[in-house]
Structures are given as structure tokens and as C-alpha cells.
């Protein structure tokens, strides 16, 4: 490099030297918005989660420390029957809801039912009516024809109250399923049942799984309808919690049972997200 060329290059270097980037402002509007958003989420989370921790603290309560764990042993021991009944009743209701809602969703979406929107709104009615009203109306309506205060009566009553939660995701899933798959199947020689079993049912899986989750959570924790229509020999876990709180206040063993029930619901939701992911909740407006 010649000496003559040095000043030229130095000049170019001086001109092209990048300026130091201006120091970012600490609180830009965007950053403030982000902080507020996070704070709001944490606030909501605290509001919703705090009662659970309060209940957990109560369940570990009177015996104190590690001995408080014994309350859970008592809960599972003495309330085992109640939990078992809750699982059995919930399982039966889920099966019944599914059996009723699968063909109903198919008919609502695929067939030209007159007044379809009105009909669908009427079918949603149990969601808008308090559980006590459902229980009373079931008693008034069917008790003359059938002994509704029985296990079967309870299953039917809970199914009436929860089936919209199954129907809605199924209807949405059916609407999302292009009819061309069914047409392709029948053109390939499949019967209506083969088409439903091999093509439609697997493809509306997201709706089925979302419906099962919603119904499980609602039915497993339902006590108000159960209060009206349960047979004397049958007491589900949420009803037991309700009865115990009403008579004895919130004893630590009762709180332990309530925590176990919340834990089961929480595990169901976690398992759902783990297995199916959030996309399977598409179309549900509850979660």
C-alpha cells in the first residue's frame, strides 16, 4: 500500500465508522404494555389459584405439619366409596352423552333440519339454566312416570345437564369436516356405517376429546342436580363435600377430599393438553 493512499482510506474509514447505537429507553410504550400484560396474567392466576392453596392449607390444617397428610389418607379411606361412585356415574354419563350426541351432531350438520338454529339454541338450554332448576324440573316432570331418585335417574339427569357440552364441540368438528371425505368413501364402496366408523369418527376426534374433557370436569364436580335426584344409598364425592360442609363446616378431612377432587380435575386437563394439545379445544367456548 502506498503512503499516498493512506489518507484516502483513513478518510473513508472515518466516514463509514458506525455510530454507537443509541441507548434504548427503559420504558417504551411497548415495554410498558408488555409488563402490564404480564402483571394482569399473574394477577388473574393468583385470583384463581389462591383458593386452591387456601383449601390445601386447610386440608393440612389441624393436625399440622407432616401429620396433616394423614387427612388425605382419611379422605381416600372413608370417602373412597364416594369417589368411586363419582367415577362410575361420570363414566356412565360420558358414554351416554357420546352415544346421544354423535348422531345428533351428524344430523344437525349434515341434514336440512327445519329451524336448525332455533333447535340448536334450545338444545343449549341446560347450559343457561341453574342446576337446581334442572333438578327440580326433572323431579316435577318425570317422577310420576319413573322413580327418578335412582342411580339410572341420576345418570340421566346429569346427562341432560351436560350433553350440550358434548354436542357443541361435536357440531363444530362436524362443520369443520369437509363432506368430500364422506363422498370419497361412499364412492369407493363404503356403507354409511363404514364411512362413519372409519372416516368421520376419527376425523372428528378433536371434537370428541374436547367434549369428553368438558363433560368430565362438569359432571365429576356436579352436586346440585345430584342433590335433587340421588338415591338415598348413593352419595357422590362432591355431594359428600357439600353435605359435610353444611353440617360440620370445612373440616380438614373434608378439605382433603375437596383437594383430591380438584387434583383429579387438574390432572384430567393436564393429560388432555399433553395427549391432544390445545388445538383439540377448537370450537369450544367454555375453555
Amino acid at each position: 500500500m502506498s503512503e499516498a493512499s493512506v489518507p484516502v482510506h483513513a478518510d473513508v474509514a472515518a466516514r463509514t465508522k458506525p455510530r454507537p447505537a443509541p441507548r434504548p429507553r427503559r420504558f417504551t410504550p411497548r415495554r410498558v404494555t408488555a409488563i402490564l400484560s404480564h402483571a394482569y396474567i399473574w394477577f388473574c392466576l393468583a385470583v384463581f389459584v389462591l383458593p386452591f392453596f387456601a383449601l390445601l392449607a386447610q386440608s393440612l390444617g389441624s393436625r399440622g405439619g407432616s401429620a396433616g397428610i394423614a387427612n388425605f389418607g382419611d379422605a381416600l379411606g372413608s370417602f373412597g366409596d364416594n369417589l368411586f361412585w363419582s367415577f362410575k356415574i361420570t363414566g356412565a354419563v360420558l358414554v351416554l352423552d357420546l352415544v346421544v350426541c354423535l348422531p345428533a351432531a351428524y344430523a344437525i350438520v349434515r341434514y336440512p333440519v327445519p329451524g336448525k338454529r332455533l333447535l340448536f339454541s334450545l338444545l343449549q338450554l341446560p347450559l343457561y339454566v341453574p342446576g337446581a332448576v334442572i333438578g327440580l324440573s326433572l323431579l316435577f316432570t318425570y317422577t310420576f312416570a319413573y322413580r327418578i331418585e335412582s342411580t339410572l335417574g341420576l345418570i340421566l339427569a346429569l346427562a341432560v345437564g351436560s350433553f350440550p357440552l358434548m354436542l357443541t364441540p361435536l357440531v363444530v368438528a362436524m362443520k369443520d369436516l369437509p363432506i368430500v371425505f364422506e363422498e370419497a368413501a361412499v364412492c369407493l364402496g363404503a356403507t354409511g356405517w363404514q364411512t362413519y366408523r372409519k372416516i368421520v369418527f376419527p376425523l372428528i376426534g378433536p371434537g370428541v376429546s374436547a367434549g369428553l374433557l368438558l363433560c368430565f370436569i362438569i359432571v365429576f364436580n356436579e352436586y346440585l342436580v345430584t342433590l335433587f335426584v340421588h338415591p338415598p344409598s348413593l352419595e357422590t364425592a362432591p355431594l359428600r363435600v357439600f353435605n359435610l360442609v353444611r353440617t360440620n363446616g370445612l373440616a380438614p378431612t373434608t378439605a382433603a377430599l375437596a383437594v383430591v377432587m380438584q387434583g383429579i380435575s387438574f390432572i384430567a386437563v393436564l393429560a388432555f393438553f399433553r395427549i391432544f394439545g390445545t388445538r383439540h379445544l377448537k370450537g369450544t367456548y367454555i375453555l
Binding site: 364412492c187 364402496g189 356403507t191 376419527p202
Partner: protein
């Protein structure tokens, strides 16, 4: 293999007639295309053949067997949809074997048939993949393999290439034609794409507003349109609306004389058109010559002002204003340059045999099948 007969089939939705009195005979192993604009009833016709839509009137026969009210699964058809419609939760092999599995075929027979079909469509080794792992073209080939696996009597195609890009479309249309020729299946193909229809069809059925306008080979449709709609829908054309003022000559030398907005034109003869009839006479842009220095004697010569010249690669469109009416002539690249420089007025010539008169007043003439 099968013959297909549509006998005056009609489909009405309330007061709307989607398909109106369509009759068609398709020979064994023939590929017939239903061609027309959107909403002309071609897809509804195809869906009636498949059994997905029930006709309001008329009968459909496969090999003399009345299938009008048979469900699709009992017709033994292969339907290729606009989208591949592969079952997304099943592998490629399970998709292809679906038609056989619902008929309770043996598993080893299904497996062998699936392998054969995969090889036929050039996708050997793809059986374990899911449809989402294939490209659009591959998916449509699997859809084709799926319908061929059941050995259908009739193949039905509902615009199967419309969702693909142009290169893939060109490639696949010949693939479909090749498969149809090799398997010798009777096929009905629906499209609105003229080039697709012209490339693969044995015969073309041009439809409009639910009715058949004309049935014929590519040359019949292009060179001898029978209705104004066919003339205007197929390719580009120039129309002269006018009145037949006389017939000149006899036999093969006979010509019609037509007056249109003061222009005296000589047309190809059509014995069914009477003197005094209202006609539209059509000439294709590629049959029109530009007369630069009074060259060559043509039967029809018209004059106008060059409006614009549109370059299209090997050819160019010359848009000429003739008394307020736009007229199009397609010229070669060399002529384009000359015209582009000259601007101003221009003379155009065309032979009387290229000017096709179509009777406007009479009923549409449809080829007998």
C-alpha cells in the same frame, strides 16, 4: 369397462334448474369432457352419474343397467375430486386399499393391489407416508391410484387439476390421459379449462346454463361451432351480427351473403339457414390477415383504425376499431413491429370459408350422438 347413457336427465333445486334435459351416450373406453363456465351444470351432471345427487327427472344407465337410484357404493365408480380428498389419518397405502378393505378383501390381496397401483402412478415406496407428507401433485396421483384400485366401471373426474399450479397441471393431465388409455376405462372429465379439454378428450360436451350446447370432437367444436355460445366460449373470435341477404353459388361452392352494419360479407354456406335469417358470423383472429400494401385478394376485406397492439411472445393481438366495434387479428412478431410503427388505418382480409354463420333465431343445433 362400460358404456354410459344419460337419458334426458334434469336436476332442479326449487325453482332453479341446474341441469336441463341432458342426454349423452358415452362409448366403452371413451373419455368425454364436460366443458363450460362456472355454474353451467357440468359438476351437477357428473355428481348425478356418481349417485351423489339424485336427478329430478331422466335415467342413467351403465351398460344398459339402470343405475339412476342406486347409491354411489353400488355403482362401482371411481370419483376423483377437485381436491385429492385423501383421508388424512390413513397412510397412502391405507388410502389406496380403502375401497378394497370396505369390501372385505383379503389383506394380502389388498397389499398386492396397493403395490401395483403405487407403481402404476409412479409412487412406489410411498405407501407408509401420510397424505400431508406428499406434494399436491403426488396427492392427486394417490387419489387416482385409490380409485383405480377398486377396478371401477367408470372413472369420473371433477376438475382434478384445478388446485394445482400450471406446470403440474400440464404434466398431470397427460398422466391422467395415459392411465385412462392404459386401463381402457370409460371416463367423464369435468373442466372449465379449454386447453385441458382439448388435450385429453375423445369428445367434448360444451354446456351452458344447464343445457348441452354442442357435442363433438375438438375440431368440430373449434371449427364448426353450432351456437353463438360455443363460438364465443371456445377460443377467441370476432362476431358480425347481421342478416342473410342471399345465397351465392351451388353445392360446395355455395356461400351465404350477410349484411352487418353496412358491411357486405361472404360466409361459409349452411343449408339450414334461410335467406332473411338473423345470424352471427364468426371468424377466428388467427384466420384474419393484415393487408399492408393491398396484397392478396380475400373474399372479405374490412378497414379500421389500429387501437392497440398487444405483444404475446410468438404472436401479437392487433385490436382494430371498425366503426366503433372492436375487431381482433392475431399476427406474427414481424408484422407486429411493422404495425407498431405504422399506427393509423389498416385493412384486414379473411376467406369466406373461415367466416362461420350461426342462426340466432332458430333453436340451437346439437350434434346427434
Amino acid at each position: 369397462m362400460a358404456t354410459v347413457q344419460l337419458d334426458a336427465i334434469t336436476k332442479r333445486y326449487g325453482t332453479t334448474t341446474a341441469v336441463d334435459d341432458v342426454s349423452l351416450d358415452i362409448a366403452d373406453g371413451e373419455l368425454v369432457t364436460l366443458l363450460g363456465p362456472s355454474g353451467c351444470g357440468k359438476t351437477t351432471t357428473l355428481r348425478m352419474v356418481a349417485g351423489l345427487v339424485e336427478p329430478t327427472a331422466g335415467r342413467i344407465h351403465f351398460d344398459q343397467q339402470d343405475v339412476t337410484y342406486l347409491p354411489p357404493r353400488a355403482r362401482n365408480i371411481g370419483f376423483v375430486f377437485q381436491t385429492p380428498a385423501l383421508f388424512p389419518h390413513l397412510s397412502v397405502a391405507d388410502n389406496i386399499g380403502f375401497g378394497l378393505s370396505v369390501k372385505h378383501e383379503r389383506k394380502d390381496a389388498i397389499h398386492a393391489r396397493v403395490e401395483e397401483m403405487l407403481a402404476l402412478v409412479g409412487l412406489a415406496g410411498y405407501g407408509a407416508r401420510l397424505p400431508a407428507q406428499l406434494s399436491g401433485g403426488q396427492q392427486q396421483r394417490v387419489a387416482l391410484a385409490r380409485v383405480l384400485a377398486t377396478d371401477p366401471r367408470v372413472l369420473l373426474f371433477d376438475e382434478p387439476l384445478s388446485a394445482l399450479d400450471r406446470n403440474l397441471r400440464d404434466q398431470l393431465k397427460y398422466g391422467i390421459l395415459d392411465l385412462q388409455r392404459r386401463t381402457r376405462k370409460t371416463a367423464i372429465y369435468v373442466t372449465h379449462d379449454q386447453s385441458e379439454a382439448f388435450a385429453i378428450s375423445d369428445r367434448i360436451v360444451v354446456m351452458n346454463a344447464g343445457r348441452v350446447e354442442q357435442i363433438g370432437t375438438q375440431t368440430d367444436i373449434y371449427l364448426h361451432p353450432r351456437t353463438p355460445f360455443v363460438a364465443e366460449f371456445i377460443g377467441a373470435t370476432n362476431g358480425f351480427r347481421g342478416t342473410v341477404t342471399g345465397r351465392h353459388g351451388e353445392g360446395d361452392a355455395a356461400r351465404l351473403l350477410v349484411t352487418s352494419d353496412g358491411l357486405e360479407l361472404r360466409c361459409r354456406n349452411d343449408p339450414s339457414i334461410a335467406v332473411g335469417a338473423s345470424v352471427v358470423a364468426y371468424v377466428r383472429p388467427e384466420d384474419v390477415q393484415v393487408l399492408i400494401d393491398g396484397e392478396a385478394a380475400f373474399d372479405n376485406v374490412i378497414e379500421g383504425a389500429i387501437d392497440r397492439v398487444i405483444f404475446e411472445g410468438p404472436t401479437a393481438q392487433v385490436r382494430v376499431d371498425i366503426g366503433g366495434r372492436e375487431f381482433r387479428a392475431d399476427v406474427s412478431g414481424g408484422e407486429r413491429i411493422t404495425l407498431g410503427e405504422s399506427k393509423g388505418r389498416i385493412r384486414l382480409g379473411f376467406d369466406d370459408m373461415t367466416l362461420v354463420p350461426i342462426d340466432e333465431s332458430g333453436p340451437a343445433t346439437i350434434d346427434a350422438v
